[in-house]
Symmetry: D5
């Protein structure tokens, strides 16, 4: 369904996670890593150390046979050019609507350069709100100034 | 340069801002609004009240003739399908790489639904770091559960 | 046929529905939900509660093994960028032809914001007409005003 | 701003409408037509009779010179393949998410065929709701069965 | 070969047709339908009644097991956005080259509206010509005037 | 409006045609050519002889200055990859839905080859029908068999 | 590898050709056809007579079971919109760079029309050159003048 | 008309060529270069020496002011991704249909490598034929073997 | 010509550079920067300090009015999705052909991460070679390891 | 994961390489070829001699059965039009940002022509740097001047 290509290993891990009733919070404790990074690992958008891979597989009740697949560098990027899934699309929309304003503000604060998406962390919190809970996402990326030469 | 279509009014406002040496921090104080929202207004991705429009124009030393343009609802979305500008592209990349992991985490925390990009605020901070300053972006969007009927 | 990707579970459910001769009206009564929502669930564009999933499977004479697949959050969006199926295309055409006029009218009635496609219901009726029956589709979405900050 | 191509005549008409403070409700009374159709006419997605064109121009305080432009058959469809404007995009999303479910329901109710987007009307209402007003859109299109030969 | 997606049932029917040496003229007589419509049915771009499906399967020496597949409403549209097959491409080229001239002539003859592709028939004849035989295609579609409301 | 690129000369000719109240039938008589070909010439999808160009310009009350533009070989093809105009789109849809069935029938009748879109004529007639007039389009193209070598 | 879709039969034929050590020159003699046409047949871009199919299969040491597949009219066009293979891409580049100049020269020499790609032959020769051998490709297509009507 | 972007200087040169009644054969004699190369120069797909530029301008009765524009290295490639002009499209079609067969033949004759489109010449001849004149295009490109390292 | 969008300021600077006969080597000496960076600045893919801007303008004989344009952060990325210019395309081809092999080698040498295109320098040299001079391009980018969190 | 199409043989070779713990440096010694070329061979973007294929397979502990697959000319180009993998994308970005500046510098140094991507070698080195190691990529391609004729 949709053109998003979900790796086979991802389906195995998510099925096991569901079957065992393990939450991302549980996995955070088992691995000592943030849930977003763990979800990225499960979708093979991040690579684990052998130790992290073992802990994840153990927490999901799976054998260590999958360690090599989890430690390998993967081809990243999950999907169609413009995502059709409404949740994912909203991040595309934020880029379309706020991309240039963000650029303007970052250039004023930091000069010409970019926010790294590699030296980068991301956190997702649930903020209780009587008018409806809110999703709070914090992105933290190193500013990389353009090098001159 | 690039296919990003920058509205004429945006160029006028940015030229005036540069000429007067006004910063976004100055504008925050003049309008009582966040700098990201103000940048979005300047790029016509947001619409001002008459009062906000007047204050912005005054702060930039421009006449009130532009008020109607700033208060009208605009056609939003600034650019090419896949952005070529490296700073903007990194947000596309974050969507490509972390979109599905974010989806997984949000669904676990909140159930089936999305983070609104309309009932939404965004904040950009500079975090000093001896290894290189960091860009910290906080997105705060209402969780919208799928309605059943 | 065509690039529309129909999930395997959808084919199972539709085959069972046809084999048992169950109509959407029957399913409306079995689930206490609208037929459009049920069709969306069958195409995995909506997620069921355990109870709704059970009722649907029972009504179609299928075992409860499929409950987990029906309650999981799915990747949504079914098809090619521009749909080739004539029935689906007409909704693309309505968006192309009437999208901006709708935008103009909504902005005048409600201000700057959007109609939610999440806090949203849809109803399809058959209106008898001697010159040819008519399809009447009612969409009902919460107006979401742009937040300022 | 954005790739939506807004005809010059549309800008003239909307500017006049804003300048005179005329609402769509006023135009409904002046023309005896629905506001959505009038907005479609203004965006040149519909063609007026000479009488309708005159009434519109008179209501907007414009001369009859524009009558020929308003009565001509126009090239329809306003925009980019996937719209970037959030309001317009939601209609694209509805097509992506609900297109196939709608198809399933219509085929069951009517047989193989389509809802016409030509022999078609559309209505937009504001439904007051204490939890937030709602946009109610009613589409009414003739069912066209596939002809066999 | 090419991105045209040919349904499995189409391959079965065409293989049987070739194996039995049945021509479209034979099928016209067996079904009492035009060969183009029958070819559209074989490619699942049209839906048969139970009777038509039975007759087609009988004429091709196939069992009635395929009746349900032939009577179901199908997802229509067979191919890539721009067809690469030279025969099919020529129809794309005709649309590119003559689309606007046709529009001009139809609007003058009929007013604002379209030729229906649903209430529509098509006929293909071979016209003998000493300089090379000619393909004569006759399309006959109901004119649908734009409704005003 | 829309991405269809209408040549400047086309607009001049159509404006003159409307101003003088000349119909395509009138032009057929003036030029001794079919109205579809004349419309194609006006849209610069066909090239005129000097004599044809003169007659057209005379019939439209324009000076002979435009003769060179009308006799030059032009770059053909008028529009976006997938047309958004509903009338033109229906021809795209016919190609999507009936392209492969047509191919099947032509190959059976003629062998491997194509219908030429160059050694090609097209005719548009209005067929009166009490249930709604019909557009009858006749395409006549030379069959070109694939050459072997 | 790459999006070029190579038919299964092509792989069978090429594997047999390699296994038997048969060259295109051998096949030219076996079939009495040019090697380019034979390669086109192997890629199912051309259709064989029964006799040609038999000779090809015999030359490759394959059974006659594949005759029907080789004599059927195929869906033509092998690949992605813009080819990524460098050898094939160069022909795309020639079209991009020299397409309009070729058009200019052909129109001057022949008038308005095209070079047929159907009534068309192609020849590839190796021209020895001390500075590096050269590929000489001769295309020979019938000029088709635009018909007027 | 069409998305082909024709440089302003090209239009100037072609207008002058038409006005003076100069043919490509005349230009071949004036410059001592092949007509295809000259047409490529006119479309700014090739760069002239100062001497060649002068001779071309003189032959067209234009002043030497345009010399710098004709000697500069230009950005090459003239058009839309898939050309809509039927003459140019046929070269796209040849690439789609014969690209892989050509690749197969060249690899057998020369080994792994490509035909250069830079160390490349092209010739266009008119071959008289009682059944219709033929366009004969000869491409001659250096074979470039893949370097190993 | 081509879809590459060359900024107006770039044209001014290049025209002045040509008129004054200034080479990149001259500019390297005037600015104390590498010619590739200077060319990037001229195409507004890099931003200058006030001092660098002044020196460049002085070297080109232009007034300091253009300083603000050269010091502003620009929207980067110059062209069409797939470049049509043969020189630029070769870099696209290198990415298509060698992208994954490069990825494999970098991951083995450095671990999971990327080569920065921001903390990045590039150098172009001419290497004399009797068989034909060679272009030697050296890219030097900081390795950025994926951060875990 | 991602649309990059990795050939089956590539997966076999990489799995064996990982299982045996063989590095690219080991392979360089075994084959007497550069690691980048070897990686290109593994991804079937280059073709081996029989000897090179044998040595590679032996080094990886695989049988000689794969020799024919490694010596065949392959269809080259590995991936989606715009790569989503961040490491590969950076090369796309370099082309977008520095493509035109590189073109400008090469034309000044060499004249009108291109850097060959066929008569081409590439080298990747790790440059130790206390602020973070750097990737140094050296591309060396023959300059090909445009031929005139």
């Amino acid at each position: 369904m949709s053109n998003t290509e979900i790796p086979t290993i991802t389906e195995k891990l998510l099925t096991a996670k569901k079957a065992k009733g393990v939450t991302f919070t549980d996995l955070e404790q088992a691995l000592g890593r943030d849930e977003v990074w763990i979800a990225a690992l499960i979708y093979r958008q991040a690579s684990a150390s052998e130790d992290e891979a073992s802990k994840l597989l153990q927490a999901l009740g799976l054998s260590n046979d999958l360690v090599p697949e989890l430690t390998a560098s993967s081809v990243k990027g999950l999907g169609p050019i413009v995502p059709t899934d409404p949740l994912v699309y909203r991040f595309y929309e934020i880029m379309q609507v706020y991309g240039m304003p963000i650029k303007e503000v970052i250039h004023e604060k930091f000069g010409d350069g970019i926010m790294s998406a590699i030296d980068f962390t991301m956190n997702i919190e649930k903020e209780a709100d009587p008018k409806g809970d809110r999703v709070v996402i914090t992105m933290n990326g190193k500013f990389l100034p353009y090098k001159k030469w």
